[in-house]
């Protein structure tokens, strides 16, 4: 049941919504997060998992918040119990022009006091034995990290909930307007209305639609597609760091359109971003937005083969596309609306995960300026315990030794804990404990996880979905269709 009135309504339970919720949960403020999907993070773009040391043109808000957020991750990972590793980043140049980009990158990093150094050809080959012979120079920055975007999102949300911020799911905002008097908003959702003094628009790809509901048409969101290609697990260890290709134009030294990314769980991912001006998808919600293209596959392969020649097409075992929201204003947009007072719009682009801690702090800063009273809670608990691993709680609960997902070694105990913490769908379980993320991609464990969900949530198997809406796993019982009563 929605509350009647809150101080702050956060629209969107994705990376930014959850980050802001967690920050606000430190204060005696009444908050509600409204998320239209069935679970936390389902509306998320799903990034590469990179916690960039640098991203964005120098001088931009994007660059500033990314650079400032990076050092915060060790502490955040410890408090919130998510996996995080500083694997370091190597930007490789294969031509003289590209070497100029590397130099520009090193120069900029040093100006920001970020540890970095230029490597010789021999040093690169030593640090990355699989890299091509053609490399002429490279930069190495040890600060670049990796994490799981879903895990971080879920961890922040759980901590926020722990500290008293409720999340409302399957709750879609349909209208947003100021009450006469101009002090409060009426937030209309498909589950009822609530009154809010301040509204934080963290609706991601739908941020412009939400802003327009309140009469603010100052920006639009352009959907850009990024394509991801996952390599088979036998290639784990192919690279020791995140490996990027230096840009041919030194003015763009900070950008990367495709790179080889290490995942915190060990697998290797090839990222292929959209090139500038490449608005290759029309509709945000279309099938093509979530698909890969043959051209994308070829391009990603060519890019990675230029860096690591030993990769072949057969090494790619899974792929998907994701839409990144790109604000029409160009840079990160985090500001109080000029047209609708009390509304704070957030419209970012890549990198979301890398910048979320400082984005959240910036939003709190604006709320403070707008007059929200921020009295600290004495009992704020910054710690959130991760879900135990396989076998960990075995002596208390033998289900922690009963393996359900054989590819990723996930036990029944872990799945039950994921459900206890809010997972209601196959994907909810998957993003929390990785059951279904291994080589067979759920081929073996999905029926078993489905049955466990039905049992734990006390619902018939026919009601279990992959990720809400009409994605039911079991549509019918055939005998029931034929008229069986049992």
């Amino acid at each position: 049941m929605l509350p009647r009135e809150v101080d702050v309504a956060i629209i969107g339970g994705g990376m930014m919504g959850s980050a802001v919720a967690r920050e606000l949960s430190k204060y005696k403020v009444k908050v509600a997060v409204l998320e239209k999907e069935i679970e936390v993070s389902f509306g998320q773009a799903k990034g590469s998992g990179a916690v960039h040391s640098i991203y964005g043109p120098p001088g931009s808000l994007r660059c500033k918040l990314t650079v400032e957020s990076n050092p915060l991750f060790d502490n955040l990972a410890k408090k919130l119990g998510f996996g995080f590793k500083r694997v370091g980043e190597i930007i490789a140049a294969l031509t003289e022009e590209e070497e100029k980009s590397v130099d520009a990158y090193v120069k900029f990093a040093k100006s920001q006091k970020i540890p970095i150094r230029k490597l010789t050809k021999d040093e690169v080959r030593e640090m990355e034995p699989n890299i091509t012979d053609e490399v002429v120079a490279a930069s190495y920055c040890p600060m670049e990290g990796i994490a799981d975007g879903f895990a971080v999102n879920i961890a922040m949300a759980e901590n926020a909930m722990q500290n008293g911020v409720p999340f409302y799911f399957e709750t879609e905002v349909k209208g947003l307007s100021l009450l006469p008097g101009g002090e409060d908003y009426i937030v209309e959702t498909d589950r009822g209305n609530l009154k809010a003094r301040y509204v934080v628009n963290a609706a991601g790809i739908n941020a412009d639609d939400v802003a327009r509901m309140a009469g603010d048409d100052s920006f639009s969101v352009f959907p850009l597609r990024t394509q991801y290609f996952i390599l088979d697990r036998r290639l784990n260890g192919l690279v020791n760091h995140n490996v990027k290709r230096a840009r041919p134009d030194p003015k763009e030294f900070w950008r990367s359109y495709g790179w080889i990314q290490r995942e915190v769980h060990g697998s290797i991912l090839l990222i292929l971003g959209a090139e500038p001006g490449e608005r290759d998808i029309q509709e945000k919600d279309s099938e093509e937005a979530f698909s890969n293209t043959r051209e994308g596959f070829r391009r990603a392969l060519r890019q990675v083969q230029a860096l690591v020649p030993s990769i072949c097409p057969r090494d790619i075992v899974h792929m998907f596309g994701r839409v990144i929201a790109y604000p029409s204003t160009g840079d990160f947009l985090i500001k109080p609306s000029e047209k609708s007072p009390g509304l704070i719009n957030i419209c970012l682009q890549h990198p979301g995960l890398s910048s979320c801690p400082m984005v959240a702090k910036r939003v709190i800063g604006f709320l403070d300026e707008l007059g929200l009273s921020l009295e600290e809670k004495s009992n704020f608990n910054p710690y959130r315990k991760p879900i135990p691993s396989l076998g960990e709680l075995y002596d208390q609960d033998p289900r922690y030794a009963h393996v359900v997902c054989r590819c990723e070694h996930v036990s029944e105990g872990q799945i039950i804990e994921a459900i206890r913490r809010g997972a209601k769908t196959l994907d909810g379980v998957k993003f929390r404990v990785r059951a279904g993320m291994g080589r067979c991609h759920g081929g073996f464990c999905s029926p078993r996880v489905t049955k466990i969900l039905a049992r734990e949530l006390n619902i018939p198997v026919e009601q279990v979905t992959k990720r809400g809406k009409r994605s039911n796993i079991v549509k019918f019982r055939t005998k029931k269709l034929l008229g069986s009563k049992s």
Binding site: R448, K451, I452, T478, K479, K480, L482, G483, S484, S486
Partner: protein, 124 residues
Amino acid sequence: MEKRTIRCILCPLGCEVRVSVEGDKVVSVNGYECPRGREHAIREVTDPRRIVTTTVQVEGSSLVLSVRTAQPVPKDSIFDVMKETASVRASVHIKRGDVIIHNVANTGVDLIATRDFQTKIERS
């Protein structure tokens, strides 16, 4: 007069057998290469039958028992056979060949188990 072409499935030749019928009487049959093919085509035109393979629920188990009609049943009766399989639950300790439903859907044919089935503790 109706002319029907049946492709015979009894051997790899796959003869296209042409059968002419007047009402329900067979007037002529051409195109077969063997007597079995001739009979097959006539049967398909006058009295097409199939063996129905399906499953039934078992008392005390979430697993199903595979069953089939002991002989081919008229094609028209397939749905009725299926409906009837939904209305029964087999009980335990079944051996392959055991009759699960006598004279299923009034076809004159029994529905039999195609495997042994002991009720075990259900595994997840």
